[in-house]
């Protein structure tokens, strides 16, 4: 076996609700602190307790940490998933398992290296508390794994300390459990397996974080004053973390809150509250997933037509309908961009990493207020709930908070007249005033019905047409404040172009390197927003063939490209992956080869 240093895909199979999360976090954080690029992917069922769940840690010195289904090491702690776990492991892989599980050994695969660990006995030595034993069992496998793969015990212990923070006794108990596992492995297994981790210089300016937390921080540091939500997987943590951090960082002198979070009774109401709050002058957002998007459709149409800012984070899961609530997808692109009946398209932000979630956490509020419209941020379960390495968020310049065209009483006093929907600047974006503005000209009457420049009710065909054409101009104008696509040029002057978006980014990067090995070179354009910037058209024009990668069945991004660029429709091809798992680099490389 070729020696693999700092390059392993570890799959830990446990039972949902048995508290393996801490152990897994400690493993991944330790690798991270050892200077090894990592990612952590949680594959969990849509239930609370008792079903198989997996945590996959991909460590990769070259920085490729997207999800991979080629597993080098398995830690098997769940009887119910043993055969799945065996099957998932590559030939020659390391199979660490709980020998108390009493499964039929025939299930094991001879091509694997086996490590039977009697966890029950081992943990007995650590504590007498039956309740604690369950949790500590998980810590024991941390020790076993650490020893087998040569992880740095010092680092692990420091991580344990930070993880359990103040509680010294807890720290010690856990360290002890890890030690027991470590010892057991030391005494029973050969060392120096071909998969080994080695300490490197620390990963500077980098953090390990999930997209929902990063997005929440972006909102806290982005001046979000109001948030409303209705719980739904996988978006709940975004709002819970927002409230959590806002409670820490957004208090006034008296300890009162400089923000409000309201748990709504449903998604119709959560977006309704956001629209009310924005209208009254707070920067406001909500978060949801697919079903909530469907329910928000009517209010989003109002946001569009009455030009009231609003922001919804859609942490996409596998649809349609309730679908697979704990699997990932990019299936809501279409609804996000076109939500509501009648005409109208909405700006959509497409983060590809927690870093971008953070950045868009503020930007979405800016765009909504600057363009006076609805903005969807389309993250997904993979970014939102998994651990990604990302730039230290405090090193990202969010820029000044942009509140758009809001007129104060002072402004109004300088003005002859004020008409809410008048295109004064010729950019399609009118001025607004907030309720509570003390000036005779300030008031206007907001409505979702036909209205003229002064917001008076009208059924006039001319006024309606005028308004709809201005709104169309505004859609274009939003490009000024939306993030441009990012292009990664191959150095081979490629005639092949790849267009993708969102969480598939890392895997695509890797797939391009795989393809390069077969002398297939491509430039890669990552779209970060809808509608499309000029650069997208240029990219299409400049390549002979362009493959669009969608993580949905209907090729939703491809469709929008074809609509926008019919002249290039002939050279656009589609690659799809929609099985609920994050896309895999190899899979994408193969699919690209297939369509070429």
């Amino acid at each position: 076996m070729e020696k693999l240093t700092n390059k392993a895909n570890i799959r830990i199979g446990t039972v949902n609700g048995t508290g393996s999360q801490s152990s897994n976090t400690i493993i991944i954080k330790s690798l991270f602190r050892m200077g090894v690029p990592v990612s952590g992917k949680n594959l969990f069922p849509s239930n609370i307790f008792g079903l198989p769940t997996w945590f996959q840690i991909r460590a990769n010195e070259s920085g490729y940490t997207s999800f991979s289904d080629e597993v080098d090491i398995v830690v098997a702690m769940n009887k119910d998933s043993i055969s799945q776990d065996v099957d998932s492991l590559k030939a020659g892989g390391l199979f660490i398992y709980n020998s108390d599980l009493r499964f039929d050994e025939i299930l094991l695969n001879d091509e694997h290296v086996h490590f039977a660990v009697p966890f029950k006995n081992l943990v007995k030595g650590v504590t007498d508390s039956i309740k604690l034993r369950k949790l500590l069992t998980n810590m024991v496998y941390v020790g076993v794994l650490a020893r087998i793969t040569g992880m740095d015990k010092e680092v692990i212990f420091s991580v344990v300390e930070d993880f359990f923070k103040s509680k010294k006794s807890v720290v010690e108990l856990n360290q002890q459990a890890i030690e027991v596992g470590f010892k057991y492995a030391e005494e029973n297994f050969n060392k120096d397996f071909y998969i080994q981790f080695e300490k490197r210089s620390p990963l500077a300016d980098t953090v390990l974080i999930d997209g929902n937390t990063a997005g929440a921080l972006g909102a806290v540091w982005g001046g979000c004053g109001f948030a409303s939500w209705y719980p739904i997987t996988p978006s709940s943590s975004l709002m819970e973390e927002f409230e959590n951090y806002a409670n820490q960082f957004l208090l006034d002198e008296k300890g009162k809150k400089n923000f409000a979070v309201v748990q709504a009774e449903d998604e119709l109401s959560s977006i309704g509250m956001v629209i009310g709050a924005s209208w009254a002058g707070a920067r406001a957002m909500t978060a949801t997933s697919g079903p909530g998007m469907s329910l928000m459709s009517e209010f989003v149409g109002l946001s569009y037509f009455a030009e009231v800012p609003s922001v919804t984070w859609d942490i996409q899961r596998t649809g349609p309908s309730t679908g697979l609530p704990t699997r990932t997808q990019q299936g809501d692109l279409r609804i996000a961009h076109t939500m509501g009946h009648g005409d109208g398209k909405h700006p959509v932000l497409l983060p590809a990493s927690p870093e971008e979630c953070f950045y868009f956490g503020k930007l979405a509020l800016d765009v909504a207020e600057q363009m006076q419209c609805f903005v969807a941020v389309l993250s997904d379960l993979d970014i939102g709930m998994n651990l990604w390495m990302t730039k230290d968020l405090s090193s990202i310049d969010l820029g000044p908070i942009q509140r758009g065209k809001v007129l104060s009483a002072e402004d109004l006093k300088q003005m002859e007249s004020f008409a809410r929907y008048k295109d004064v600047d010729g950019d399609g974006v009118p001025y607004r005033t907030l309720p509570g503005t003390h000036d005779d000209k300030a008031a206007f009457f907001t409505r979702g019905t036909g209205h003229d420049e002064s917001s008076k009710y009208t059924e006039s065909s001319e006024k309606y047409e005028e308004l709809m054409l201005r709104l169309k101009r505004k859609e274009k104008q939003s490009l000024e404040v939306l993030p441009k696509p990012v292009e990664k040029k191959s150095d081979q002057n490629a005639s092949l172009g790849i267009i993708a978006y969102g969480s598939t980014d890392q895997a695509i990067d890797e797939s391009l390197s795989i393809l390069a090995q077969t002398a297939c070179f491509a430039d890669y354009l990552r779209v970060r927003a809808l509608p499309f910037h000029h650069e997208v058209g240029v990219f299409l024009a400049e390549h002979d063939e362009v493959i669009v990668i969608d993580q949905n069945r209907d090729a939703q991004m491809k469709d929008f490209l074809v609509i926008e660029y019919p002249q290039f429709a002939g050279k656009i091809k589609s690659v799809l992956s929609f099985d609920g798992l994050p896309v895999r680099a190899k899979q994408i490389a193969e699919k690209i080869s297939e369509v070429l």
């Binding site: 540091w221 309704g272 009310g276 709050a277 009254a280 109002l302 309720p435 009457f445 907001t446």
Partner: protein, 340 residues
């Protein structure tokens, strides 16, 4: 010169646009009473936000107080809208106008949860037992066995919004009639001063689709069956001179901003407006006797408002300066240690 109120405004400062409702619609009368109430209560129109759903009733905010911002939103969504508006600006005086279709059908969930959150606002439901704007279908507040002009009979039990509001813990519950300025104006004034959701169910006949004798929500029916709970007045806190009233028959209720509301009991049943249960019984009894009970049914000033429940800052969020809504980069830098 026209009379000014305590903040120096004439009544015309509370006027709105021209109504496009049917001539004689109950809703237009309420529009007038609202103007009177806000004028008398000395509320600055600049501090008011008028919110509504969709329906003939929900159109009316365009017909009063043009100097106030207004938002005619979506059918049934007044509740969440108001919750958001209030959350962004605690200092605004919210008045919400809804209809029985808007509140008791499509908006019922939002209505219940608005009350549960106790969002400070005056919530008026213009109750005519029908969907006016869509041409007179029965609403959920139509009485069982009620008959429409078209001959249609309603087989479903009516939803009594006052009873619902009481049950949901609403701290201010009243019922009145569009034609009763004497009762409705002080009720609205009292509602303005209430620090929580103040619900007033206003029977407001739809003269086009539901104004005939078989309808309990017609002018005739209301006139025949109305039972006044008490005579009402409000003493504005600015007002130094006490009003002149007969002792012994009055009950005073203190409102949180120092205003007082006085009730003169007209009815033989002594009703304690702080007794929620008594209010429920009154409603239940009058439903059975086909009477229409009007007046202040219940008041409770001890419920915390949403802002206080959530412990939000006293400064309206929309007025906070940048420093208050954006923590320093230093803090973020520190926090990042948790993620490495």
């Amino acid at each position: 010169m026209a009379k000014e109120n305590a903040i120096g405004l004439e009544k015309t400062a509370y006027k709105g646009g021209k109504s496009t409702l049917c001539t004689g619609c109950g809703h237009d009368s309420i529009t007038n009473h609202i103007q009177t109430a806000y004028f008398q209560a000395n509320v600055n129109p600049f501090d008011i936000a008028k919110l509504s759903g969709i329906g003939c009733s929900s159109k009316t905010p365009a017909y009063f107080m043009s100097k106030s911002h207004g938002f005619n939103s979506l059918h049934g969504r007044l509740g969440p809208l108001a919750t958001g508006v209030y959350s962004a600006n605690r200092d605004l005086k919210l008045i919400g106008i809804s209809g029985d279709g808007d509140t008791a059908s499509i908006g019922f969930g939002g209505f219940a949860h608005l009350i549960r959150r106790n969002v400070p606002m005056v919530y008026l439901c213009y109750n005519n037992g029908v969907y006016g704007l869509t041409k007179g279908q029965f609403s959920a507040t139509a009485e069982q066995e009620a008959v429409l002009k078209t001959g249609a009979v309603n087989p479903f039990q009516e939803i009594d919004l006052c009873a619902m509001a009481l049950q949901l813990g609403c701290g201010f519950v009243a019922r009145s009639f569009s034609g009763d300025a004497k009762q409705l104006v002080p009720l609205i004034q009292a509602a303005i001063h209430h620090n929580g959701t103040a619900f007033i169910d206003v029977i407001s006949p739809c003269i086009t689709f539901n104004n005939h004798e078989q309808s309990s929500k017609s002018f005739v029916a209301v006139k025949d069956h109305k039972v006044n709970l008490q005579e009402l007045g409000v003493i504005e806190s600015q007002d130094e001179i006490k009003v002149d009233y007969e002792e012994g028959e009055l009950q005073m209720v203190d409102l949180p901003d120092g205003t007082q509301i006085y009730l003169r009991k007209l009815d033989s049943r002594a009703h304690n407006v702080n007794d929620k249960f008594a209010a429920m019984r009154l409603l239940e009894n009058t439903t059975q006797s086909q009477e229409l009970l009007t007046g202040l049914l219940y008041i409770n000033e001890n419920n915390k408002s949403l802002g206080d429940k959530l412990n939000t800052t006293d400064t309206p969020i929309r007025n906070l300066d940048l420093a208050s809504i954006q923590p320093s980069n230093e803090k973020l830098k520190n926090l990042m240690k948790d993620f490495s």
